[in-house]
């Protein structure tokens, strides 16, 4: 019964825990596949930069209509899209690489946001945006998260093939199809949507965590992209669940608890992963016949 009390009872006894779990599962389904592509396209830090770019948009939404979920989400989406698309367009039409152009735009966006916030003065509610609060999911928020996750999966299915080909051989895709640029922009849009999703639960600062850490974990367990995506989704869900339990039992804040659990899995994967894990490299076994 002890195990039941520790692992299952929190969810049967408290509705807010059930809501949190539902939110984490939705976030994992949408965010983890995005994270895998961010990692494979060497854009992991782009996700982080985008997360910062969203903050000012949410702040503007907050400034205009108070702690209104819809306004803040819309603001975040607009800011994120603007930065993502401008950076993408600049990178594709000039010599400047994507990372440099993105860094420029998100810094401007961040400075702008801080300026706007300081006009109205600080507010404790903004802490909610910075660090999220997965234990206070209302119906509306939960629906927004589920909706965004659904959109993500559908769009990913549409752009999956060009996205894979563009990642592995961009020149080839350019010579057979004009789908490269549109699918790249659609992908950036999905990154933004999932970051907005993440900030409701984990806050802007950790939103990218449930995307990148599971992707990093998956890299150590699979050599093909399908396997990677599956492992990433599963490890995101497990981290989310274990993080919630940890948070419930120890009163560690839930967002950091989830990311810390994922970090533990990540360290375990680095050490013991079947694909280029450190342990595996140190004791590779005898070499093969052919």
């Amino acid at each position: 019964m002890l195990i039941y009390d520790a692992l299952i009872a929190p969810f049967t006894d408290f509705e807010f825990m059930r809501r949190a779990l539902a939110a984490v599962i939705a976030l994992s389904l949408g965010g983890a596949p995005i994270g895998v592509f961010l990692m494979l396209r060497r854009m992991s830090l782009v996700g982080d930069a985008m997360a910062h770019a969203i903050l000012p948009g949410a702040a503007i939404g907050f400034l205009l209509s108070g702690l209104n979920l819809f306004a803040m989400t819309t603001g975040g989406l607009i800011a994120g899209f603007t930065v993502a698309i401008l950076a993408g367009v600049v990178a594709r039409t000039t010599e400047l690489k994507e990372d440099a152009s993105l860094a420029t735009f998100y810094l401007v966006s961040l400075a702008l946001g801080v300026t706007i916030v300081s006009i109205k003065g600080t507010n404790i509610d903004l802490l909610h945006v910075l660090f999220g609060n997965i234990l206070a999911m209302d119906d509306q928020t939960l629906l927004v998260i589920a909706f965004n996750a659904t959109i993500t999966l559908i769009v990913m299915a549409v752009i999956y093939r060009p996205l894979v080909i563009e990642s592995v051989d961009p020149v080839f895709l350019r010579t057979v199809s004009r789908a490269g640029a549109p699918s790249h922009l659609a992908f950036l849009a999905l990154v933004v949507i999932n970051l907005v999703n993440g900030f409701h639960a984990l806050g802007t600062l950790l939103a990218v965590g449930l995307m990148i850490l599971p992707a990093g974990i998956a890299r150590f367990w699979s050599r093909d992209i399908t396997g990677m995506i599956c492992i990433a989704v599963i490890s995101a869900m497990v981290s989310g669940y274990a993080g919630l339990v940890l948070s419930f039992q120890t009163s560690v804040p839930s967002g950091p608890a989830i990311i810390l659990v994922a970090a533990v899995f990540y360290v375990g994967s680095v050490l013991f992963g079947s694909v280029s894990g450190l342990f595996r490299q140190m004791f590779p076994g005898r070499h093969l016949e052919a």
Binding site: L40, V158, I159, R161, P162, V164, I165, S167, V168, D169, P170, V171, F172, R174, T175, V176, S177, R178, A179, S222, R223, D224, I225, M228
Partner: protein
Amino acid sequence: MTAQIRFRDVTLGYDRHPAVHHLTGEVASGALLAIVGPNGAGKSTLFRGLVGILKPLAGSIETGGLDLRDIAYLPQTADIDRSFPISVYDFVGTGLWRVTGFFGGIGKQARDKVTHALAAVGLNGFENRPIGTLSGGQMQRLLFARVLLQDARLIVLDEPFNAIDAKTSVDLLALVQRWHGEKRTVLAALHDMDLVRANFPETLLLARGPVAWGATAEVLTAENLLEARRMCEAFDDSAAACAVDEQPSQAA
């Protein structure tokens, strides 16, 4: 023979500096054409213009209504992320893009095609290996297999036999001959004169401008090759605007 490609006084280059200067000519449908010239002669640039990656600075290239998908292009240094987790089989399968597009399934027939293409380049048994485990020559074979699957009317190969061992060159050259036999138009940039003389009926000797274009034996003469080398690889930062363009354009 109808013309597959028409170069109309085309100039291609970067940042206003021409790399291919005032090229005019036609490539017949079904031709097997070698493009020869020293480094920096503009061979790769010409190809990039041909497949539509680079827009001409002046003039035009017509490809007789060929769709993007009817052209298979093998670049000199393929910009491939070899660490990407994709299997040999799936990678070659991308050559079926013209059939499958975004969503089309890969059915039994398509799977047979992929298997045949891999066998044709001697890579059977490699299906499940990640592309990162292939050697340079095996990678080149893989890229040929993909060109094979693209089933294109026009095939453009940029120095396809560089750093490739003799056996592999012979195998891949046989594929080029097969495409020629299937009446596809094949253009290849090459440096090995003996190989060109033995296998390519038609040659364009390029040195920014065309030096000679015609039957291989008449093009690859000692004088022509010397002339090509003499046409230096000038990239003059302060070059004046090209005088030819100053003349009233004669719409041909």
